[in-house]
């Protein structure tokens, strides 16, 4: 009995430590966003601002960075992110189901390909990809950027979903087949609800990948009017020191849609069995 108690205390303490270390920098970021510049650049930093100000938020939201309004950047980012999530989610699910359930000669090659493709450092791909997109006339376009992000999100998404699909016992599908369900029905009634948590996790990943990606957006988008939020953030980093106030304010604002998206989809993060796919 005592060892159980000790174990629980140890686990709780570990949990608290992890939570504090995870949350503290975020708290610091938000708190800095509300601090006036003197407090940000003082040599004795304090956790909570003494004279909280909304100046930085005002500057970010109404300042019009490089002649483009914040909301313009926001819409660009949002459109690209949602498109990436939808397209990559769909294609990854299809491919993952195929890889985990069907047998076809190309399967092995495809799997290895997916894995190898992630091993190449993406910084090395910027120049060749630039040439690639130029030939397809997809440079300087949000569609082109979405294509790139989908291409990046797919290998990971497919591999991850494959793991989840593989963890679903085949007996469930076979039982459904014996009950007379066709392949489509099996997919929607049995597989999909069970894999839903995995789909949620990979869609969060796709969203975040697209939402906060900087290097490729910066390299491929020429028009300021097409720029995304991370590009806007770069304007606050100067050679003679960084404007931390607006940086933190903008970063705080940027996390809000991610949290919103997350809260929206996380309700699907419940046991697929509760969704009533299987009885008994």
């Amino acid at each position: 009995m005592r060892s159980r108690r000790l174990r629980r205390i140890a686990l709780n303490t570990a949990g608290i430590v992890v939570f504090v270390v995870s949350a503290f920098p975020v708290f610091w970021m938000v708190s800095t966003a509300f601090k006036p510049n003197q407090e940000i650049f003082s040599s004795t930093p304090h956790p909570v601002p003494f004279h909280p100000t909304l100046r930085h938020f005002d500057f970010v939201l109404n300042g019009g960075i490089a002649g483009v309004s914040f909301w313009h950047y926001f819409v660009n980012s949002l459109v690209v992110a949602i498109a990436t999530v939808v397209v990559s989610g769909l294609l990854a699910l299809l491919a993952a189901t195929a890889v985990a359930r069907f047998r076809f000669r190309f399967r092995t090659t495809f799997l290895i390909l997916l894995l190898v493709v992630q091993m190449v450092p993406c910084e090395a791909l910027v120049i060749p990809m630039f040439i690639d997109l130029k030939k397809l006339d997809l440079l300087n376009s949000l569609v082109g950027l979405t294509v790139v992000y989908v291409g990046f999100a797919l290998p990971f998404g497919t591999w991850m979903l494959r793991g989840f699909v593989a963890a679903v016992p085949r007996e469930l599908e076979e039982a459904a087949a014996l009950d007379g369900a066709g392949p489509i029905r099996t997919f929607f009634r049995v597989l999909l609800p069970l894999v839903a948590p995995g789909l949620v996790a990979t869609s969060i990943f796709s969203f975040i990948t697209a939402w906060n990606e900087l290097i490729f957006a910066y390299t491929f988008l020429k028009d300021q009017g097409k720029a995304t939020l991370p590009i806007m953030l770069q304007f606050f980093f100067g050679r003679s020191g960084n404007d931390w106030g607006p940086i933190m304010a903008a970063s705080t604002l940027l996390t809000l849609p991610v949290i919103a998206f997350f809260l929206l989809v996380q309700r699907r993060m419940v046991s697929g069995l509760v969704a009533g796919a299987v009885k008994g």
Binding site: R4, L11, V18, V21, S22, V26, W28, M29, T32, S42, P47, L91, L94, A95, A98, F102, R103, F104, F106, L113, L114, L115, V116, V117, M119, V120, P121, E123, A124, L125, I127, D132, V147, G151, F152, L154, P155, F156, T158, M160, G163, F164, A167, V168, A177, G182, V195, A201, F205, W211, N212, L233, I247, T255, V258, F262, L263, Q266, R267, M269
Partner: protein, 319 residues
């Protein structure tokens, strides 16, 4: 009769044919067709975005690349880039650094992430909000999160210094000495990626039926036993993929090192940083060399994960 069974792929091995009622050839062909159909859209995107550029990168690594102000030109095939890479002492150092860095960060991420997921799974109320809060580090723009940590670690304005002071641990210049700088780097890196591990593991945990756990509790199993004897084996596919991908990513992490350590300090070079510094880091830009370094990195990762890959690929879709 045959139609109901075509929904179900046969179990692995040649014995699978015995489960198929009807025409096994037709069934196999249909599966192959479906397989191709389902994977080709994904393949199209991946081919466009990664395969062609990788191919070009490989080409670059074998060429004598002349970089000028207007662009670059390819001046003949050569293996000089590779011999330059493999004979280089900086490269060997970076390799050792990368391996050590990867081992430590992957272990910490996976262990902490799993702990987080286990705790989250037990929470009933407020789980959504807690997850949202823990997700924020992962959702920050990578450059921003690195700069945030740079700000925290800053010797003058940073709060880290203040905290150390308050705890009576003196006033270390965190990014100054190598040992503490590397730990600081790892903390910044792990901070960002652990929530990702937690989300994936949580998704896996949630998939497991509750009855198993009830049965285990009735049998008197403790948390530790339950995890290793029940949870882990059932989630092996998920953990396998997670670890492989974590290794791949941590092996080539770039942004945090670039922002917090920069190109100046070659004691904190991992292979990505080294490759970048050769390709873009000096006035003497060497695209060919940079590509060669990137390719060698890729091959290394391939070797490291080959064992797992082969195991997965050999089995019939069940890891």
């Amino acid at each position: 009769m045959a139609t109901t069974v075509t929904a179900v792929p046969p179990r692995g091995g040649p014995a699978g044919a015995s489960e198929v009622v009807g025409r096994p050839d037709e069934h196999r062909r249909r599966m192959a067709r479906l397989g191709w159909m389902f994977t080709s859209p994904a393949l199209l995107f991946i081919g466009l975005v990664t395969l062609f550029p990788i191919g070009f990168s490989v080409l670059l690594s074998f060429e004598n690349v002349n970089v000028t102000a207007n662009g670059f030109s390819l001046n003949g095939l050569t293996t000089a880039n590779y011999s330059l890479v493999l004979g280089n002492s900086t490269w060997h150092y970076a390799l050792g650094f990368t391996v050590g860095y990867t081992v430590v960060t992957v272990l910490v991420e996976v262990i902490l992430g799993t702990l987080m997921a286990l705790v989250l799974e037990r929470m009933v109320r407020g789980r959504g909000w807690m997850m949202a809060l823990l997700l924020i580090p992962w959702s920050l723009v990578t450059v921003i999160s690195a700069k945030l940590w740079a700000y925290i670690y800053d010797p003058t304005y940073g709060i880290a210094d203040g905290l150390f002071h308050a705890l009576g641990l003196g006033s270390p210049v965190i990014l100054g000495s190598n040992a503490s700088a590397i730990i600081a780097l790892m903390v910044a890196d792990v901070w960002k990626t652990t929530p990702f591990v937690a989300i994936i593991v949580l998704a896996g945990l949630v998939m497991l039926p509750g009855e198993i756990y009830e049965a285990a509790e009735v049998d008197g199993a403790t948390g530790w036993t339950t995890f290793w004897k029940i949870t882990f084996p059932l989630l092996r596919p998920v953990f396998g993929v997670l670890m492989t991908l974590s290794v791949i990513w941590d092996f080539r992490v770039f942004t945090q090192l670039f922002v917090l350590s920069g190109l100046a300090n070659s004691d904190s070079f991992n292979l990505s940083l080294y490759g970048y510094s050769e390709a873009f880091g000096s006035l003497n830009a060497k695209y060919g060399l940079g590509s060669a370094i990137a390719m060698v990195l890729t091959v290394l990762v391939l070797i490291v994960t080959a064992a797992y890959t082969r195991m997965v690929v050999r089995q019939e879709g069940v890891a």
